[in-house]
Amino acid sequence: MSAPAKPILRPGAEAIAAKGWLAAHKWLLLRRASQLGILLLFLLGPWFGIWIVKGNLNFSYTLNVLPLADPYVIAQSLLARQVPEKLALTGAAIVLLLYLLVGGRAYCSWVCPVNLVTDFAYWLRVRLGLKGSAHISRPTRYWMLGMTLVVATVTGSIAWEMVNPVSMAHRGLIFGMGLAWAVLLAVFLFDLFVMRHGWCGHLCPVGAFYSLIGSFSLTRVKLPARSACNDCMDCFAVCPEPQVIRPALKAIDGAPPVILETNCTNCGRCIDICSKDVFAFGTRFNSTVVPVAGVASAAPK
């Protein structure tokens, strides 16, 4: 299920030539290591009886000291009028702080197991040269997010958890899949045949929730060398959310050289792929080039 570490056909060739294969895949490799490593940590218990982490992404307890809880599911529980015990609330607060630090949708690219599936679907899509994609606008995910919160409020239950592919996948791997694989397969096929970056880029309310945390998060991708850009478009080709790059790269409306758009997943693929080293990780503050008012807003297509 793991996505390949092979060079993507066209984009990246330049970067590999300029920096070498390893440097052109650094963040990708680290990211896969993080995704699989986290999964493995969860599986050490049930598979080998080594209990470092118990639970799943909704709530986990590490070494019986560190509680971590998904603030999104806790929010639904609160809307369904149940106030969780302190342990879950503490866990949610810790996770919230963590993503305020590393970037909201870092959850998507560094932790979420579904990302492995959808990245693979995208890789295959490019490989097979599948063109054409259904059109659903990217903000649809916020409608999805709103819908899940409304349903939680109206039904008084965490209804979305009954169908959420993200927690289904993770829980399935750890506690037994059942038919959850069918849901994952559906997501995979949807991304492969129906819509480019369909699930993660347009629909997933979990990603939408974490993108909201991203509005304030510290770690951001910066473009310290944006003037060196030679318009090869490789970053647009590999970015799962290409619309976030343009304002910062092209200084649209005087945008500072930092990707503030909340749907950047901090995957770092653009850093890898750019032969001119335009991108680098940094903080949202102190972006050197021309301090202009007007934060980069959702970009045009």
Binding site: G45, W51, K54, G55, N56, N58, F59, S60, Y61, P67, A69, D70, V73, I74, S77, A80, R81, Q82, V83, P84, E85, L87, A88, G91, I136, S137, T140, W143, M144, G146, M147, T148, V150, V151, A152, V154, T155, G156, S157, I158, A159, W160, E161, M162, V163, S167, M168, R171, G172, I174, F175, G176, M177, G178, L179, A180, V183
Partner: protein, 288 residues
């Protein structure tokens, strides 16, 4: 915001149409999810929640499907529901016939629950109400058939309180006693040990979620004998002594049986005072 001049109305119209389409799509999906969630509220009969679980409506709002309870159960009886199972996906349950709750004294499952979906106020496992055992099949229960199986009674962790054996005449043989297992809801925890242990092919005694197993009297009902006890005496006019309509010369007294008032043919010598005399032995005393 952008201020475009010419194509703005067309663009705006298209934008509105797109938004409407999206809202409708997402709304329909939401409706589906909501209805699905509603359906999953009725816990299927074989699925029993862990000790301390809140009532089902609250539980589906409080449980975040993390499986901590599953992990900390030393007997590994708990499972998280898979998507294809007929209860809320990811919520914990056990199936008594497969593996019942062992009623750990320290209740690790409740302690492990980070949300309180398993109520932390539950400190005494004997007070838990996971479900309620019901002797569903009077035709196959071995004790009903006249055997002394008694297994459910004996394995019950709350022995002699949750299940008692009530003697009853075996009408079939006319001379034996049936020991009928009777479940008492105020003590039964719903652990399911009885269902697990029942030796028949399919258990004659089964644990069900409370909402299925327990009836309730209408709120205006009062039990006369209870009220009388509370009041320390009859609540209406003083009790009138009950009289039987007996044939001439005969009386019936509870505990003593029939006796005849008519001076019997002269009490013969050795008759114990107070005992009914002159009647066949079978008619003396209330029991056979």
């Amino acid at each position: 915001m952008d201020t475009e001049s010419k194509p703005s109305t067309a663009a705006r119209r298209q934008f509105l149409a797109g938004t409407a389409r999206m809202a409708c799509g997402v709304g329909l999906l939401g409706l589906g999810v909501g209805l699905y969630a509603r359906h999953a509220r009725a816990l299927p009969p074989a699925a029993i929640r862990p000790p301390g679980a809140l009532a089902e409506t609250d539980f589906s709002a409080a449980c975040i499907r993390c499986g901590m309870c599953v992990r900390d159960c030393p007997f590994n009886i708990l499972h998280l529901a898979k998507p294809e199972q007929p209860l809320s996906t990811g919520t914990p349950y056990f199936v008594a016939r497969q593996a019942p709750c062992e009623m750990c004294e320290d209740i690790p499952c409740v302690k492990a629950c980070p949300t309180g979906a398993l109520d932390h106020a539950l400190k005494d496992i004997n007070k838990s109400k996971m479900g309620l055992a019901v002797l569903v099949d009077h035709e196959t229960c071995l004790n009903f058939l006249g055997l002394r199986c008694d297994i459910c009674y004996r394995v019950c962790p709350v022995i002699d309180k949750a299940i008692t054996l009530e003697p009853q005449t075996n009408a079939r043989t006319g001379k034996h006693t049936l020991f009928i297992p009777v479940v008492h809801s105020d003590h039964c925890t719903g652990c399911g040990k009885c269902e697990k242990a029942c030796p028949t092919e399919i258990a004659a005694i089964k644990v069900f979620p409370l909402y299925m197993a327990k009836g309730q009297l209408s709120s205006h009902y009062r039990l006369g004998w209870v009220e009388k006890e509370k009041a320390g005496g009859s609540l209406v006019a003083p009790d009138i002594e009950h009289r039987y309509n007996m044939p001439e010369g005969m009386t019936y007294e509870s505990g003593k049986g029939l006796s005849s008032d008519a001076v019997p043919p002269a009490p013969t010598s050795g008759a114990a005072p107070g005992s009914a005399t002159g009647l066949p032995k079978a008619l003396q005393g209330g029991k056979l």
